[in-house]
Amino acid sequence: MLAKRIIPCLDIKNGRTVKGVNFVDLRDAGDPVELAEIYSAEGADELVFLDISATEERRKTLVNMVRSVAEKINIPFTVGGGISSVEDVEILLNNGADKVSINSSAVKNPQLINDLAQKFGSQCVVVAIDAKQIDGQWIVHLVGGKVPTELNLFDWAVEVAERGAGEILFTSMDNDGTKNGFANEALAKLSALINIPIIASGGAGNIQHFVDSFKVGKADAALAASVFHFKEIEIKALKQELRKNDIEVRL
C-alpha cells in the first residue's frame, strides 16, 4: 500500500536553516545539508525547504544549497519560496530538486501552474495554499497569512488541481503555531473534493495530531517543523505509533 508521508519542513535564509533547532549532535545547527541527512536517516519520507531570504543573491545561494542537498541525500525534496517563473523552476530542478512549491506567484498568475505542469510534469508542481477562516469561510492568504485574497480555499484548490498541480500543501493559518492539531475538517473536505495528494500543515503538537490528520483529515502526508526541530517528536517513534494505529508508513 502507498504509505502516508511524514515531511519535516526547514526554513532557509541565505542558505542557512533559520528556526532554532535542538539537535545537540549537530556540528553546525544552521547547515541545511547536515540537518537533511539526519532527517533522512531518521526516516523522513521527504523534505521541504522553504526559502525566506530576500537578498539579491538569494537565487544563487538557494541553487547552491539545492545542489549540496541533492548530492548528499537520497530521498525526495521540495523547494519553495519566492519562485515565480518557469526559469526559476528549471534551474532548481536541474540542480537536483524533485519538486517546487509555489504560493503567491500562483495566486497572482495562475497560468504559471499550467506552464510548469506542461513543461516539467505535474509530479513536480506543488501548490502551497495558506488559508484561515474569516466569518466561517476559509480564505486564501498571502505573505505568510498576512494578506487576505478574494479566493475561497476550496474553489482555489479545485482550480489549481485542474490547472495541473500534482499536489497541494495546505497550511491552516488558524492552526499554525498552536500545537493543537491540524485543520482536519478542512483537510477532509479538500481530500473529498480533489483527486491529487494533500499535504497537511499547521498545528502539529503531538503524535495523536498526526494520527488524526490521516484518519480524520484524510491527508496523504503531514508536514511539521518545530516539533521535529526541537525533538519533541522523533520521526521513528511517530511512525511506529502510526503503524500501531493501522496507518501505513515506511519503517
Binding site: 500500500m1 502507498l2 504509505a3 502516508k4 508521508r5 533522512s40 519520507d45 521527504e46 545542489r67 541533492a70 548530492e71 537520497n74 530521498i75 525526495p76 530542478l93 536541474n94 540542480n95 537536483g96 530538486a97 524533485d98 506542461q118 513543461k119 516539467f120 510534469g121 505535474s122 509530479q123 513536480c124 500534482g166 499536489e167 483527486n195 491529487i196 495528494p197 496523504d220 502526508a221 515506511r250
Partner: protein, 193 residues
C-alpha cells in the same frame, strides 16, 4: 566502467548523477550515439510528459538507437514507460522494447500516485539482496499493467508492473535514486549486471 546517462532534455538527471557518485562511480551525460554505444552501462531517465519526451528522443535520433543497444540499459520512471509499446499519455508510441501498453490509473485513487509504496514478487539480479515489500519512491499517473516481463509488482488501484526486464533491458517505475539506501542498492545491482 563507463556509465552514460542519456541526456535528451527530459527530466531530472542531476539526482541520478549524484546517486551514481555516492556509489563511487562517475557517469557522463550524453546524447551522442557513438558515446552511448560505447558505454558499459546506459541509464535512460525521464520525468515529465510522454509525448514531449518522445519528441525530444526523436529529435536526436535516439529512438532508433536505444532498442539496438547490447549493453545493460536501465530506464527509470518515464524512461521505463517509453521503453514499452505505447502509452496513453499523449497517445504516444514507445520504443517497443517491453511488450506492454502503459495506461492511466483510474479515478478511484488519487492521481498521481505520489510517495512510497512496496515492491514484491521480485525477480532478476536487479533485486539481488533486496527483501520483498521494501518501500520505493514513486511519482506517476500512468502505469504498465502486470505482464510476462514484470520483475516487480506494486499495488495501487491495481497490481501493476513496477519493474520490467527483457534481455539487456531493465526498467523501474520507481526512482532508485530517491528511494533511500535500498534504492541505491538496486542502482548498485544494476551497475554490477
Amino acid at each position: 566502467m563507463k556509465i552514460v546517462i542519456i541526456n535528451y532534455g527530459a527530466g531530472n538527471i542531476q539526482s541520478i548523477m549524484f546517486a551514481i557518485e555516492r556509489l563511487g562511480f562517475k557517469a557522463v551525460l550524453s546524447n551522442n550515439k557513438e558515446e552511448i554505444q560505447a558505454a558499459d552501462k546506459v541509464i535512460f531517465p525521464g520525468v515529465g510528459e510522454a509525448s514531449y519526451a518522445m519528441g525530444k528522443l526523436k529529435e536526436s535520433g535516439l529512438d532508433t538507437l536505444i532498442p539496438t543497444l547490447k549493453q545493460p540499459v536501465f530506464g527509470i520512471c518515464l524512461g521505463m514507460q517509453l521503453m514499452c509499446n505505447k502509452t496513453e499519455e499523449g497517445n504516444t508510441k514507445g520504443l517497443g522494447i517491453f511488450d506492454v501498453d502503459v495506461i492511466k490509473f483510474s479515478n478511484k485513487v488519487k492521481v498521481p500516485q505520489m510517495g512510497w509504496n512496496q515492491i514484491y514478487d521480485l525477480k532478476t539480479d536487479l533485486f539481488s539482496g533486496i527483501s520483498e515489500n521494501e518501500f520505493m519512491y514513486l511519482v506517476h499517473s500512468f502505469y504498465a499493467p502486470n505482464c510476462a516481463e514484470a520483475i516487480a509488482t506494486t499495488n495501487y488501484d491495481v497490481e501493476y508492473a513496477s519493474a520490467l526486464h527483457k534481455d539487456n533491458f531493465y526498467g523501474t517505475q520507481f526512482h532508485p535514486e530517491k528511494s533511500g539506501d535500498v534504492g541505491e542498492k538496486i542502482l548498485a545491482n544494476f551497475l554490477k549486471i
